[in-house]
Amino acid sequence: MSERIREKLNILADAAKYDVSCSSSGGTRKNDNKGLGDSHASGICHTYTEDGRCVSLLKILLTNHCIFDCAYCVSRKSNDIERAAFTVEEVVSLTMNFYRRNYIEGLFLSSGIFKNADFTMERLLKVVKKLRLEERFNGYIHLKTIPGASDELITEAGMYADRMSINLEMPTESGLKLLAPDKSHQDVIQPLGLVQNQIVQFKADKKLIRNVPKFVPAGQSTQMVIGATPETDKDIMQTADTFYRNFSLKRVYYSGYIPISNDNRLPLLGSQPPLIRENRLYQTDWLMRFYGFHVNELLNDINPHLDIDIDPKLSWALRNLQFFPVDINVAAYKMILRIPGIGVSSAKKIVQARQFGKLRIDQLKKIGVAYNRARHFIKCADSPYQLKDYQGTQIKSFIMAESQSKYLKHDTQQLILF
C-alpha cells in the first residue's frame, strides 16, 4: 500500500511541477474553529527546490489522465507516460499529514481532464469540501479552474478555495491555436471573468451583511509559457498588463518552456530553457506592479525586447538620461524609485531620513543603496562634481565592468531578481 502511494505521488507531483506558481500569500483564513491551520497574509516558503523555487504548497494533479492533446503539456493524450490517479481520501490525508508536520502551507490541486470538464471539476470540489468541512482545514488551497466547467461548480469551488487560477498558456491567441487547436483564450477569459465578478459581488455584500462567506480571498492568477512560440517580450507583457487590469489578477507567472517533446512546432528537446529571459520578464512585471512604470515605457515598438545583459530598470534609465541625475535630497519618491540601484525599501528610508538633514554618500550606502550603480544617476550632499556628461553607452560599460556582469558568464543559470 505504501509503495503504491509513493508511486502515485511521484507521478502526479512530477506532472504538476511545470505550473510555476507557488504563492501562498493572501490567505486570510483564521483558525477560529479550533481546527488545523491558519493562513498567513504573507505566506511562507517551507523549502526550496534545487532549482531555487519556493515550495510552500503540496502541488499535485488529481490525475494525469487527459482527453486533450496540448503539444506543450507532459500529460497530453498522445504522450506515452505512466498514468495515475489519486482518490479523494488520498489527497486529503497527504495534505493533512504534511501540514501537521509543518512541511507545507497548503494544497495546490490541479488535474488533467478526464471524461469531461464538469466531472473533473466535481472531483476537485470534493477534495476541497472534505478538507474544509470534515477536516476543519484552514490552510491555503489553490485550485485550478477547469476550463469548460459549469458556472455553478466554479462558483461553489470559490467558496472553499483561497486562490483560483487558470492558465493562458501561450501569450497570444495565435500561439495557443498553433499548439492546442482545441483551446482558445476565450476559455480562460470566461471563467476568469466569472470568478472576478463574484469576488466583487461578495465583497459588496460583505459591506452590508457581516457574515457573508469568503470567496477566493487570495484572488486569481494565471501563467504563460515563454519561449515555446515566437512572441516578443512586448506581446507578452502587454497581455500580462491587460489581464492584470481587466481581472485584477494577483499574479501573472512566466514559465520558461522546458522542452518535453520532439513535436516540430516546439523548441528541440535538450535546448536550454530561457531562464534569463524569464527573469527579465519577472523584473518587468515588478516594475509595473511596484515601481509605477507603465508597460509602454519599458517595451514598445522601438524596443520590443528586453535587454539580456542589463535589467529593465537600468535599461529604461539609460534610454531616458534626460531625467537624470536625480537629486536624492529633493526629488519626489516616485522619481527616486526609478533610480537604478535603489529599491523600494531604500527609497522609503531615503525620504524619511532626508527630513533630518541632507544625505551623504556614506549614509546612502548604509541605507542599502547599490551606490556603484546608483552614482551615475544621482546627486546628493557630497556628490563629486562631474565635468562631463557621459553617454548611456559609457555608463552601461562602467556598470557592467564593475558588476562583471553576472549575466554574461557562461553559467547563465545563476539568477537573482534585481
Partner: protein, 254 residues
Amino acid sequence: MVYLIDGSLESLLCAVFDWFERKPGKVSLKVLKYYQPEAFNAVHTVYNDPSNADRVWKGLGQKLDKGWLRRFYCTFLAETAEAYVTLFEFACYIFSSLPGAEHNYGNPHVLKLAQTAKKVEREKHRMEAFIRFQQTSDDLFYCGIDPDFNVLPLIMSHFKNRYADQKWIIYDLKRHYGLFYDLEAVSEIHFSLEEERTLSKPAREQLSEKEGLYALLWNDYFKSTNIAARKNTKLHVQHVPKRYWKYLTEKKVL
C-alpha cells in the same frame, strides 16, 4: 564610565533611567555575561527597579509606534553585546530628541537597531518555515531547534494559532527551554540534558507508526517537484543556507 547590567530587559531599561537621572555623560554599556573588568574605567552596576523599568517602557510606548516597539524587542532578543549597546543608545537618543527621531536612518543607532531587528525577524521567519515536526507514539508533535537568536517568544503565537488541534513541543536546545502546547494553552518547559538527548534522536518505537511513511513521502515529493533542467544550486543555498539543513526532513537520507 562603564554601566554594567545583568542582561534582562528590566536591567536595560533601568540603565536608560539611570543615565537620565545621573547624567554621567558618555558611558559604555556592558552586560555581565560578556564583561571583562578593565583597569582604568569606573564601573557602575545598574540597580534593577521594576517601577523605573516600567516608566521607561511606557515612555518608549508614547514615543514610538507599535512597529518600532517590536523592533526594539526583537533587537533585545538578539542577545548580543552589541545589540544591548544599540538599544541603550537608541533609547537615549529617542528620549533626547523631538518626536519622529526614529525615522532618522542617518543616525547609526537607529539604522543598527532597524538592521538587527530585521535579522531577528528573518531568523523567526526561518524557524516558522524550517521547523519539521515528528509525530511521537503518544501523539505529540516535536521539534528541537538551535536558532541564532532567542526567537521562541516571537514564534509562539504563530504555532499556537496554526496547530490548535494537535499537541506540540518546540524546544530550543541552545537555550535549554521550550514551548509546550497542550490543546489549551502554551507553557514553558525545561528538560534534563538526558531528555534533550533522547528527544533529538528518538528511537523508532518512540515515533508514531506513520511517521516514517510521511517523512519518506515528503522526501519523495521534494525530489519529484524539482525541475532538473533548471538546476540552480547557488540560488537554492541562498534561500536555504546549509546550517539549516539539519532541520529539514527533505535533506535527510531516509
